[in-house]
């Protein structure tokens, strides 16, 4: 059964004479118990889509339902069913961890102690800081507290808007482990992120750009559909690789990836031509080898292609 359904959702923001088409007809079906990742660059419409699905704003066109409840007509019941972690930390910074948790428990009419079962995994990280003000927690801890508060009423669908932005790598990994655990308990999770590496942890990934969903697929299918051969390039003169590559007509795309450049070529003769050209320009110790595309390569490719 579908936990989240969206049909041709559109949203336009108007300020004065200028219009921003944030969403241009989004269609989406997310299964119950699915961990869904919405991936896209800043300004692609991720937050707008989430805010419509959690009933914070109204769509201009189209319909959406979460857990079988229409986001416009059944918002009252809907809000009992969903949990929402906004992109910006929006708990009370001057209240303690414990007070925040209790406040949201009371608002949802549940007993915080009884609900500890669900949030225990997360709360165990927070327990040592229970009397610390939320504003004085680290970024990772803040996100865990926000997650605890969003889970306190046992929602069936959880929405997270860029939960790991500004969080260190260790906390990010911990956070994704927690999300997988929740998914394993049967919760539907909708998470947006600008980090493509995180997309690989999702069951399915939706790639959003300029208000349109480019494709929705499992990460493996996205990688499989990468139609080109991908090469990794490294030389002794990395700082000059980019300008030098620009003069090579055979190169289709070149992105810096860590210490390497990931390249694709127009033709199969491209790699050899490129290496020769780099040698002429004085690069030494040139290594160019075929690699398996990662999810990030695919996104770069698909987003450029659209």
């Amino acid at each position: 059964m579908e936990a989240i359904i969206a049909r041709s959702l559109s949203k336009t923001y108007r300020s004065g004479k200028s219009q921003t088409h944030a969403l241009k007809g989004i269609d989406l079906d997310i299964q119950e118990g699915e961990l869904f990742g919405l991936v896209g660059p800043d300004g692609a419409g991720k937050t707008t889509l989430i805010r419509i699905l959690v009933s914070l704003i109204l769509p201009d066109q189209g319909t959406a339902s979460v857990g079988g409840l229409d986001v416009v007509r059944n918002f009252g019941l809907l809000r009992q069913q969903i949990g929402y972690v906004p992109g910006r930390f929006s708990l009370y910074q001057d209240l303690t961890v414990h007070e925040n948790l209790h406040f949201f428990a009371s608002v949802f009419g549940v007993n915080a102690e009884e609900q500890y079962g669900l949030v225990r995994e997360i709360y165990k990280y927070l327990e040592p800081f229970r009397d610390r003000k939320a504003g004085q927690l680290s970024g990772g801890m803040k996100q865990k507290l926000a997650l605890s508060c969003a889970l306190i009423h046992r929602p069936s669908v959880l929405f997270l808007d860029e939960p790991t932005t500004g969080v260190d790598a260790v906390s990010r990994r911990e956070f994704w482990v927690l999300l997988s655990q929740l998914r394993n308990q049967g919760m539907t999770i909708f998470v947006s992120t600008p980090y493509m590496d995180e997309a690989a942890r999702c069951d399915r990934v939706g790639l959003i750009q300029e208000g349109r969903l480019l494709r929705i697929d499992p990460p493996t299918a996205i990688v499989r559909d990468f139609p080109l051969t991908l090469y990794a390039l490294s030389t002794d003169l990395m700082s000059r690789v980019k300008p030098d590559l620009a003069s090579c007509a055979e190169v289709l795309s070149a992105f810096a990836f860590g210490a390497n450049y990931h390249l694709t070529f127009q033709t199969s003769a491209g790699p050899q031509a490129c290496v020769r050209m780099l040698e002429q320009k004085g690069h030494t110790n040139i290594r160019l080898e075929v690699i398996q595309p990662g999810i990030e390569d695919c996104f770069m490719y698909f987003m450029k292609g659209s």
């Binding site: 009933s55 914070l56 109204l58 209240l95």
Partner: protein, 374 residues
């Protein structure tokens, strides 16, 4: 409406309020300082009107008049100038409030029944000082005039023309004591400022920090949210009132002649209207600066047109009309009635009605305008 949610909101609000020491200081220090300082400073009895007498006559009569003027306790004869220009220069330097010119042949003209004319030039930059000061002077001159007529015209023992003599009795505030008049009024201002600014800033802060986002996706309804904001500040407002009444009695010996219960009853209603307005304004503001600026403007208009400093009766008719819509004006009238005159609840009923109407309109409006869609 869910009581559990409202309770949770109120508990949260108090926890936040008392966590910040600045809030507690504001709640206690502001009333104390305002009530102790302002009533002493806001005294509009005009003292020491500085008069310069330019005497061109130098007669017995002009000396008599000068002596009479200097004898008045409110007037200080600062100088005796040789020329009128000299007196005006003194006024230019702000050393003189009134220059009184006694013309040459003043005595002779008077004796010869030629109606001599005294001329007074008044420094009118400060309107209050000018009008009260010249009144003092007129009184002295009128008195002087009558005396001369009595002496010279050999008035019969019984005055054929009956003279109207007015004697004053100050009711309700017999000693014309300014603190007893000002302190209750300032208490109203205080209650208004504390309630208004705390409530409006608080709601907008939730917007600014983004905490309202989390509330908006929860089952908290608009009415529950607004009540959860209203009740804590309503309680804090009554705490400030209590503190103010204590200060009034301890430091000024002002005990309400009427029932304290009446004051509290009216204050409760008043706070509903004021907080309703504060929450309504903050529904439209996005930042704390915006709401501060708007509140400041609203407060200023309310206070200046409230009758605290200038009596409502002396305002132009249109301004008097606006006082009916001004909650501050209603409360100032009511608190003065109850404290000074001992009015009962029945006496203030028209004001109660007006306040109930305001609260009845502003609160639902505040709830409706709070932008949580639905």
């Amino acid at each position: 409406m869910n009581l559990r949610i409202i309770q949770a909101m109120i508990r949260k609000e108090f926890a936040q309020f008392f966590r910040d020491p600045a809030n507690i200081r504001m709640l206690i220090v502001m009333p104390v300082v305002q009530l102790l300082l302002l009533p002493l400073a806001a005294d509009y009895e005009v003292k020491r009107v500085r008069v310069c007498i330019v005497d061109f006559d130098h007669s017995q009569l002009s000396h008599e008049l000068t002596g009479k003027i200097s004898a008045n306790p409110h007037i200080h004869v600062g100088c005796t100038a040789q020329s009128f220009e000299q007196a005006l220069q003194g006024m230019e330097r702000d050393e003189i409030d009134i220059a009184l010119l006694i013309p040459a042949h003043f005595e002779r003209d008077l004796v010869m029944n030629q109606n001599p004319v005294l001329s007074a030039s008044v420094h009118a930059v400060n309107g209050q000082r000018a009008s009260v000061g010249s009144q003092y002077l007129m009184q002295i001159l009128a008195d002087f005039n009558r005396k001369i007529r009595m002496q010279w015209l050999q008035l019969p023992k019984f005055n054929p023309v009956p003279l109207v003599d007015i004697s004053h009795t100050y009711l309700y505030n017999p000693r014309m004591d300014y603190p007893s008049y000002m302190v209750p009024g300032i208490l109203v201002i205080l209650l208004t400022m504390v309630g208004f600014s705390l409530a409006s800033l608080n709601l907008v802060r939730e917007k600014e920090i983004g905490t309202i986002e989390q509330i908006n996706v929860s089952p908290v309804r608009k009415s529950e949210f607004i009540l959860g904001k209203l009740i804590p500040f309503w309680i804090l407002g009554l705490v400030v009132l209590t503190l103010g009444l204590l200060i009034a009695s301890v430091f000024y010996g002002i005990y309400p002649r009427g029932s304290v219960g009446t004051i509290y009853a009216f204050a409760s209603l008043y706070l509903l209207a004021i907080l309703g307005l504060a929450l309504l304004l903050s529904a439209f503001a996005q930042t704390q600066q915006q709401v501060m600026l708007v509140s400041y403007f609203v407060m200023l208009v309310f206070i200046l047109l409230s009758g605290l400093y200038t009596s409502v009766e002396s305002m132009p008719p249109w301004a008097q009309m606006t006082t009916h819509l001004n909650p501050v004006a209603h409360f100032i009238v009511v608190i003065r009635m109850v404290v000074l005159k001992g009015s009962s609840f029945r006496d203030i009923l028209p004001h109660v009605g007006a306040m109930a109407a305001m609260a009845g309109i502003l609160l639902p409006l505040a709830i409706r305008s709070y932008r949580k869609h639905f």
